[in-house]
Symmetry: C2
Subunit: 491 residues, 2 copies
């Protein structure tokens, strides 16, 4: 057996174990009995220990060293890039620090949930300070003199930097704020009203999953408090949720998660259980979920078809025609919560977090000043005030579990979705004719071939550049939003 074959055989087992670990998380959110929490914690820690031991295995060091400088094909080169990145990173973080981080974030998540419930920011700040200190220590160990925040970013979006993102987002923010202000000054379409049978919502959401190409022979749909997608390869599961007065939440959560899941399901099967067999970054992942949800799912053409489906499922629900339905689906409303934001305002929520978390990691912002900084920034971007911490600085779980560097990938994903949409529309001039019939296959096939099938073969930015024929920028997203919301709001 060659060194490469030996390394890949070892890695395949590690990948299989990572799938098992991921399925434990799925089980925890969907199936686990409520009394099993303590035991589950030990099970997850045991799996983490096994994975860490394998990622840092000295044999991997030796195989990688032996392969250094060897001529390999593109696939093998990409496999080694992933293996080396994971191995180097895991070896740089002392085991004691990793264990401390796991224990502290596990504890912090509970404290955050209680603090949010009690609207008590002060109760959360001490443990948040600990989490930040530990992540800073971890980032310093990885960065070895380079930027600590970039070291954290690398976990979610390899190959990018805060500098690059800052430039990209710097062009986005004023344009979004301006468009938002114009839209909010115009007359808004009425919101959806009434109640919608939840079993019928689930039935239609199942239909939507199929329409967007979700393969139920290699997945399943359950309900969970917070919808998510889980797994890769031959077993990719999604969840959704229902709320009697808000069927759009169910439908668009499902479409969003199908975007994530379809990415994982459509990766070239030759990469199964290898480092190339998963989505390449959070940003690219989000580009798929968002283009499914927004540029396709909330398009005039597709909502025309969805209107008919909803009439079939729920009868007359007080909206007279497709055009009104399209306007209601895309209604822009005030709100403090990121996850409930429309596609126009969503990125403004994210950019607040991106700027604040960089300041927290660098030490420019003390946790004691975080709430004021959040509220000031929110008022500046949205023009009104956060009413309570659960609608402000306590709304997201991310920081409590140590996810610093994750938020910007949401907006990067939207930027990528904008780029992909422009290129796809140019390639598929008749796409709307198909969408109006509820046929998304030209779009999903295009994304499958241009993005999804490649798995981890290319670096994220390179992948989007190849798919679109040019380097990504914020311009297509802004042009799309301008055109769409100007038309809806008669600007």
């Amino acid at each position: 057996m060659t060194d490469y074959d030996a390394l890949m055989a070892f890695t395949r087992t590690t990948e299989a174990l990572a799938r098992v670990s991921g399925r434990l998380d799925w089980d925890q959110e969907t199936m686990m009995p409520r009394g099993a929490v303590a035991q589950r914690g030990e099970e997850c820690a045991a799996m983490a220990e096994v994975l860490h031991t394998r990622q840092t295995d000295p044999r991997v060091t030796d195989w990688l060293a032996a392969l250094e400088g060897t001529a390999l094909d593109d696939t093998a080169t990409a496999q080694l890039r992933h293996i080396r990145r994971t191995h180097d990173r895991a070896r740089k973080v002392p085991g004691a620090l990793a264990a401390k981080l796991a224990a502290t974030t596990s504890q912090a998540q509970g404290i955050w949930a209680d603090a949010r419930q009690a609207e008590d920011v002060a109760a959360f700040l001490p443990v948040l300070g600990e989490v930040i200190a530990l992540r800073r220590e971890e980032a310093a160990a990885i960065a070895q003199g380079a930027s600590p925040y970039d070291a954290l970013l690398e976990d979610y979006e390899p190959g990018t930097s805060a500098e690059e993102l800052t430039a990209l987002f710097g062009a986005l923010r004023p344009a979004l704020a301006e468009l938002r202000a114009a839209v909010r000054a115009a007359d808004a379409p009425p919101p959806l009203s009434g109640t919608f049978d939840e079993a019928a919502q689930l039935q239609l959401s199942q239909r939507l999953a199929e329409v967007f190409g979700y393969d139920t022979a290699h997945g399943r749909i359950d309900t969970a408090v917070h919808p998510f997608s889980s797994g890769s390869g031959l077993d990719v599961r999604i969840t959704t949720r229902t709320q009697a007065d808000d069927p759009f939440n169910c439908f668009y959560s499902t479409i969003h998660e199908v975007g994530h899941a379809a990415y994982e399901q459509n990766i070239d099967r030759r990469y199964l259980l290898t480092p190339l067999g998963g989505g390449v970054s959070m940003g690219v992942h989000e580009s798929q979920s968002r283009i499914y949800e927004n540029q396709i799912g909330r398009s005039r053409a597709f909502t025309g078809w969805l209107y008919g489906q909803m009439r079939d499922a729920f009868g007359d629900f007080g909206i007279a025609d497709e055009e009104s339905f399209y306007r209601t689906v895309n209604r822009v409303a005030d709100g403090c919560i990121r996850t409930e934001a429309d596609e126009l305002q969503y990125n403004l929520h994210v950019l607040i977090r991106f700027d604040l978390e960089q300041a927290l990691i660098s030490g420019d912002l003390a946790v004691s000043d975080l709430e004021a900084a959040w509220n000031d920034r929110f008022a500046a971007d949205f023009g009104y005030h956060v009413d309570k911490p659960s609608n402000g600085v306590l709304q997201d779980v991310h920081w409590s579990v140590g996810l610093f560097g994750y938020f910007p990938t949401y907006t990067l994903g939207n930027v990528y979705a904008g780029c992909l949409n422009a290129a796809m529309r140019a390639d598929l001039p008749d796409l709307d004719d198909a969408l109006a019939q509820g046929d998304t296959s030209p779009a999903t096939a295009w994304l499958g071939a241009r993005v999804q099938t490649h798995g981890g073969l290319y670096e994220p930015r390179d992948l989007i550049t190849r798919a679109c024929g040019k380097a990504p920028s914020e311009a297509p997203l802004l042009a799309y939003l301008h055109e769409k919301f100007s038309a809806i709001y008669g600007l």
Copy 2:
């Protein structure tokens, strides 16, 4: 940290990983998408490799050696007994043989399923021959000169031997055959007829699980083709099934699995995630499932209560009173299938397999003669003939997956259930008053304190002896069956 503490910390992680591996099996039978089979095979193999590596870890050898001869309390002594047994056994079986066995049995299970479907014994025999040869090789490696079949038995029922079981079962078989013949010569009560709403069956089965003390905060109930119980400690899940024309199948499958699950749930929590934290043997496990199902669940007192529940759930279903209902629940009917057998005939099915599998392992019976041997023995014990292989030698999955030495634990469990029932009834003279009210708690509390709480602390036979105040024998089971069926059949 002492050697003992170090060994126990290492073992705790191994136990947690074993729980994860077990939950993968649960997922496969209940939740897994049908297209995930190939990936799941690799996931299970990866977990098996991790567990085997830990079980044979040289540090365990060193810790065990260092602790040899050290004075320890009973709990620690019992922990070491389990760890040593697992470690010694795992080290005796060459890795290549274990891998070959896993691959062959995985393949054999598919071939068996196809052969059963096609009623084609010949198609199954070659791979069965391979499985037997590999298990014989494994048994020889473990036994090191002692009896190979006993080495296999040890996996499921530590501390017993074929000789001991042969003596026990030798007393059972003629007595069961004689009682069976007398019952079959008498008039049988009518069978249940009609159809029973399957959702209502599941609802009543949920009620039955609670009545028998199943703790749903630490478990959950799903449906599966073949009902089973899975897990231990804080997360013990069961499955059941429904069939419109046979609600008893649903109810008694549920009660049976609750017997297994309650055993795991009621083990002393101090043993959580240690080798003492699981049921001590298959025989003791089966004693719990069978006493819940039969001696309690099919008793005159409890079926009286169940009759009322069924009337509430299904209205008039054609049985006039409790007494008739009791007779119908306990109806003895012809049949070739072990899993569908009533409590009188069940053990005769098992004893056929016990005798034949010993002959297969010793080489006294060639696989080419197996079908004839099975059919002859069946005719001798039951007085009529097997009509087709799927009702005969191809009915059970066990041998295809290499489970030689497992079958006798079913009957041993019934013998133990007979012993426990006699002791419990002597201790609880008013038990039937409670059962007639649907209150099983005096019985489940007795079993919890005498058997279940101890987990793996005592060896199986010792545990039953302590619980009953005397050594186990077949006599209480036979006396119970004689009394019960003589009364029902007016012998």
